[in-house]
Amino acid sequence: MAEKIYDAVIVGAGVAGAIVAKTLTQAGYRVLLLEAGLQAGLAFAEAKAYENYQSYMDTFYNALAKVPNAPYPNLQDAPSPNVLDLSPIQGTTPDTTGYFVQKGPLPFGSDYARTPGGTTLHWLGTCLRMLPNDFRLKTVYGQGVDWPISYEELKPYYEMAEREIGVSADVEDQIYPNTGKDFFGKGYVYPMRKIPQSYLDQKFIKGVRGMKVGVKGDEYELYVISTPQGRNSIPNDRYNLVGPVWDKATQRLVMKHSDDAHYNPVGAIWDPYTGQRCEGNANCVPICPVQAKYNALKTLKNARRDRLDIVTQAVASKVEIDPTTGRVTAITYKKYQDPDSPEYTTETARGTIFVLAAHSVENAKILLASGVANSSNQVGRNLMDHMVFLTWGLMPERVYPYRGPGSTSNIPVFRDGEFRERHAAFIMPIDNWGFGWPANAPYSDLSAAVNRMNLFGKQLRRHLNDTVARQLLLHFECEQLPQPENRVMLDPRYMDQLGNFRPVIQYNVSDYTRAAMAAAKNISDQIFARVGIEDYSEYNPTDADYLIYDGVGYTFWGAGHLVGTHRMGFARSDSVVSREQRTWDHENLFLVGCGNMPTIGTSNPTLTMAALSFWAAENIIRELQ
């Protein structure tokens, strides 16, 4: 199979790879997809798909620490990072506990999943578009870099991504700072109606209604909106788009308007009638039991299977180049039978076009290991994430958290504004799962009540109901700017058992982002005072990502939004891919994934990345014609 020459060879069966595979096969091209994870994870026949997913569920139920990667197999032959491996870095000695070799000074706190379907298996599913000013940060605020693509240009591809992922939201709710009336196309509606906002959101909204917060002498009026989410809700009967399809005349991918277009929610891969609606399992991270939440297997299932060959347990390790033409001739991969055994066979995949879609860190790793696409010396650099700063406290009355999707509302006020000249922008999601993330609630509450407060019986019940049911978690996702020193590197001293490199990560947070955390804490204090929330937030030097700004300590958490490691740009001198998503150095090598994004803005990156994946697929089809 490997010696067959494909129109395109794609590495990685996550959302980026799946979108390109689906789009190319539907346009009639023959595609080979290489995937590092286990064969079982790509079963689409109903019984097998169900059986495999239930094995993830069972692993989840039995895991003591229900972290994002808890349900999924951790393969020795294709390891994944795990947040359980995080701790503060001591001095200059790298922390080699987990898959990442953490050089610091701050440990990189996010993970991803190397399993078929990729990290969308455990993503939350928040699907906000980036704002127009996010694409021109340098021009407007003198920070970071501009994108070589504008919001206006990307808009039609956002519509493709919103259909593919199946986003639920009401356009009328989506009010953001500094965006004009034409942010959404005229008459545009999301495929499904908004996900109902939680009871907790409603109580919180009441508490902050009309509130003005002061930040450094400026006043901002707070407002709360519902969050667009990639999970199934009630189809919007005004939605009338189908596609995208390849339009020969214009040489573009286009969505077609059709009056009898209906959006059908895409259910579980083992049964289309399961997961037609979010059922409130409150477990989107790490696993949605009914697949009401989007994952990339849904896209892959709808690729044209007669045009698609998939090889699993295939870890791409090298991009081979013809030195005279600079074109990619093949991708070398290591095929293993048993994920725990170091044995493998070396195989090659040949094609006309090659696409790396192995996730931002793994893409950078493959490029660096192959010594390709790096004439700019930017591969692996500019690693960004959202710094998740959390504040938590007890509401004056019960709001009943631990129900519904992880977050159903957000405060968008600080996503854009002149303050971006001085400190980072941030979005403020309101979380639905109590103190679970920062404090391992309700387990910690139970343990304290039983072991320290010596409560039992009815008194114990009353105490937990009185306190845990009042837990509120606020969440600030702070933008990080591209910095060349924040980077993924390779070091032959750190290899996995197949002889592939482990990512060596050097990482820090600049004052521009630290200042945003300080502003966030200040805003949180004002909100807590207004609503009467008893503050339980606590940041300790023993936390993995603890930092000091202006003499005050803050802790942040990783968001899982790994961006920037092979960024696009205007010129080959300072970027890895062009606006076509093609590497400047090798004309038949395309990259997809969040690594292409030059800046991160304040939206969770996957929707934008999915839009860019359609954009890349369009350029690839044009090339293949």
Partner: protein, 159 residues
Amino acid sequence: MKKEQYSIEPFLDLSAILTGFERVDLLGTGMVDIYYDEVVNVVGKATSRELWETTAQIIERSGKDGRKFETAIRREILASAKFGPIARNIIQMWYTGIWNELPQSWRDLYGTSPDDTTRIISSEAYQQGLVWEVIEAHPPAAKQPGFASWSYRPSGDKH
């Protein structure tokens, strides 16, 4: 395996007073036999029998309701060096499906079992955790309440 009525009854009564749930609620989880076995297996037959006997004696003396019963449970079981840690584990087991390793001081005095490790007893145990009902939610990834349920109070009214 059919449990001796004598042992299961005091275990169930003890579980009810410790957790604050009715016997019928505990029976409804389907976990009674499993948790009983768990305790006996980890702390041993002799110690567990002593605990059931002590419980039975308390009930004989003070009945199963009211302050008197609660006080006796606190004094003779929760405050006991031997029974206290087991009783606190029984509460947490019912609430979360987790068996917690007993404190080292207890293990030093009363023995260690290879099964005395912190772990989730089973998938079913996790899904039957009572803490979720106490906070009027449901175990994440199980017993899902349905579309839009989270936008109402758990009792079903909007405000």
